[in-house]
Amino acid sequence: MDNEEKIATRESFGRALSELKENRIVVLDADLDSSTKTEYFKKLYPDRFIQNGIAEADMIGTAAGLAACGKIPFASTFSAFATGRCYDQIRTSIAYPKLNVKICGTHSGITVGEDGATHQMLEDISLMRSLPNMTVISPADDISTKALVNKIARYEGPVYLRLSRMNTPVIYKDDEKFEIGKGKQIGDGKDATIFSTGDVVAECIKAQELLKNENINIRVVDMYSIKPIDTELILKCASETKVLFSVEDHNIIGGLGTAIADILCEQCPKKLIKMGIPDCFGHSGRPSDLMKYFGIDANSIVEKIKEEIN
C-alpha cells in the first residue's frame, strides 16, 4: 500500500461535492474553502456557494434555513469548529427539527498534525452520535468518501461527515459499494477483529499484513457508518474471532469503541480493547509521529495485538 497513490478524504470530499448533479445542493463554508476543498464547488457553482466568513454558528443556522426551504446544504469547516463550537446550533436548529443538512468536518483527529490540540478534534464522534436524528459517517479513503458523499446527498436527514487532512492510501476498488448503516469487513482472519474508522483504517490494514507474516490472521472492519452502526457485522465478528479491538483517531470516550461496546455489552458480552486517544488533548507534531505517540500506527497496533493474543 505504501507505493500507492495517497489522497486526503477532504480532497475526495471536495471533488465529489463538485461532481454532484443536483441543483438543490448549496455549499456553505466559514473562510476555509481552500482547506476543506469546497473551493472546487465554489468555482463551478458560485451562485450556490455561501461564504459565511469566520462565523461557524451562523453558517450552521443559515444551512438550517436553506434546508427548511428544500435545499440540500453541505456546511463545511474544520471538525473542531463544525461540531464543538456549533453543538447547540446543530442540536436546536438541525438535529431536533430533523433538517436535511450535511455537516462536513474536515481536519478531524490528531492527524491534523502541527496545528496542535485546539485544531485536533477528538470528541466530534462522541458529540454527534449522541444527538437524536443524526447520522455519523467517517470514511477511510478516497473511494469510500466519494461514494458516501453521493449517498448522503440522496439521504434525507441530518448527517455529520468526518474527514481528514492527512493523505491516506486508497483502500478500495472503484466499484466498491457503501451503504449508510453498514461496515466493510476486510479479510476473514479468526484470531482477532480490529474495528476501525477514518484515517487509521489504513494503519489497521498495514498491521493486518504485518501480523500475517507472523502467522496471526486477523480481520479489519471499516466502520465508516458510526451511526447507524452495523450491529449484525459487529456480532458476527464477535462470535467468529477470539479477540476484539477498536482503533480510532478520537478520544476513547464516546467514539467508535464506545459505540461497539454499547452493542457488545447488551447483545454479546465480550472483551473489547479500545485503542485511541486516551482521554487527553493532542499536541503539535508530524501526523506520523503523533500516531506513533498515541499508539494508533501500524506498528503499535501490531504490538498491542500480539501482547493481547499471547
Binding site: 448549496v26 451562485d47 450556490r48 455561501i50 459565511n52 466568513g53 462565523a55 454558528a57 451562523d58 453558517m59 450552521i60 443556522g61 443559515t62 444551512a63 438550517a64 434555513g65 436553506l66 434546508a67 427548511a68 426551504c69 428544500g70 435545499k71 446544504p73 447547540d88 446550533q89 442540536r91 436546536t92 436548529s93 431536533y96 427539527p97 430533523k98
Partner: protein, 286 residues
C-alpha cells in the same frame, strides 16, 4: 380626494379589525399559560400586536396549505414566546382553538418552545436564543436562489441580542442584500433578571444604531400601534438591496395591567384570581 377619504376610512376599519384580533390573541395567550400552569406571558403579550399584523395582514400564507412552497415564513427566534405564536396560528385556523388549553401538556403538540414538525404553521423550531436570524437568512437566501419573491420575517427579543450569533447573522443579512428579510426586534427592555439596558447597555436607540451600522434599513416604531406596524411593514417591502430591522418599542406584559413592565411575569402563570382579572381586563371594549 374621494379616494383618499375612502382609503383612510378603509385603513381605520382595518386597524380596528386588527386591534380586535390582537385582543383575542392576548386572551388566548393568557388562557394557554393559565391552563399550562407555566409559560412566558410577558414576552408573548409584547409581540401580540406584531404577530397579529403579520398573520392577519402582512404575510402571504394559507392556513389550508401550511407547507405551501413559496409562502412567506416567520422565524420566532425568541421561541419562549411560543404561546403568542400558537395563539395567532389557532386564531388564523391552522389548528382548532380548543387545542390551546393543552399547551405544554404531555399529550399536546404545543411544546414549550415551537416545534416545526409538530404544529402546522410553525415555520422553524426555536428555543435556544440567538439562532433565528441565521435561519431566517438561510430561508431568505433560498427564496432569492429560487427567485420566488416570498418574504421572511424574524422576531428577535432585545435581550436575545446579547447572543453573539445575532451579529454574525446580521453581517450575512446585509452581505447578501436580503431585502426579502424583515427583522422585528421586540424591545420591551426587560429580561429574566432585570432591565436589558442595565444587563448589557442595550436600549432601543442603541439597537437601532447597531442594526444600521450592520447595514440594515431601520425604523423605530411603537410596537403596539397597529397603524405604525402596518406602515413599517410596507416601508420594509419597498426597501431594495438591504434587509430591514424594525425596532419596536413594546411593553412586556402589554394589555394586562399587573403584568405590564414587571419582570416577574417573564416566566410564570397566573393563578385563578389573576387569570380572572386578566381576562376581565382584556374583555373590556374600548
Amino acid at each position: 380626494m374621494r379616494e383618499s377619504i375612502l382609503s383612510k376610512y378603509m385603513k381605520i376599519t382595518k386597524v380596528e379589525a386588527l386591534e380586535k384580533i390582537a385582543k383575542r390573541i392576548r386572551m388566548n395567550i393568557i388562557q394557554e399559560i393559565y391552563y399550562a400552569k407555566s409559560g412566558h406571558p410577558g414576552g408573548s403579550l409584547s409581540i401580540a400586536d406584531i404577530l397579529t399584523v403579520l398573520y392577519f395582514n402582512e404575510m402571504h400564507i394559507n392556513e389550508k396549505e401550511p407547507q405551501a412552497e413559496g409562502r412567506d415564513k416567520l422565524v420566532l427566534s425568541k421561541g419562549h414566546a411560543s404561546s403568542a405564536l400558537y395563539a395567532v396560528l389557532a386564531e388564523k385556523g391552522y389548528f382548532p382553538k380548543e387545542e390551546l388549553v393543552s399547551f405544554r401538556n404531555i399529550s399536546s403538540n404545543l411544546q414549550g418552545h415551537p416545534d416545526m414538525n409538530k404544529v402546522a404553521g410553525v415555520d422553524m423550531t426555536t428555543g435556544s436564543l440567538g439562532q433565528g436570524l441565521s435561519v431566517a437568512n438561510g430561508m431568505a437566501l433560498a427564496s432569492k436562489m429560487d427567485q420566488r419573491g416570498n418574504r421572511v420575517y424574524c422576531i428577535l427579543g432585545d435581550g436575545e441580542l446579547q447572543e453573539g450569533q445575532i451579529w454574525e447573522a446580521a453581517m450575512t443579512s446585509s452581505k447578501y442584500e436580503l431585502d426579502n428579510l424583515c427583522v422585528i426586534v421586540d424591545c420591551n427592555n426587560l429580561q429574566l433578571t432585570g432591565k436589558t439596558e442595565e444587563i448589557k447597555n442595550l436600549n432601543y436607540e442603541d439597537i437601532e444604531q447597531k442594526f444600521r451600522c450592520f447595514g440594515f434599513n431601520t425604523n423605530i416604531i411603537d410596537g403596539h400601534n397597529i397603524e405604525a406596524i402596518l406602515d413599517a411593514f410596507s416601508k420594509a417591502e419597498m426597501c431594495k438591496n438591504k434587509p430591514t430591522a424594525i425596532i419596536t418599542k413594546t411593553v412586556k406584559g402589554k394589555g394586562v395591567s399587573f403584568m405590564e413592565n414587571n419582570p416577574n411575569w417573564h416566566g410564570k402563570a397566573p393563578n385563578d384570581e389573576e387569570y380572572r382579572k386578566a381576562i376581565e381586563e382584556l374583555s373590556v371594549e374600548k
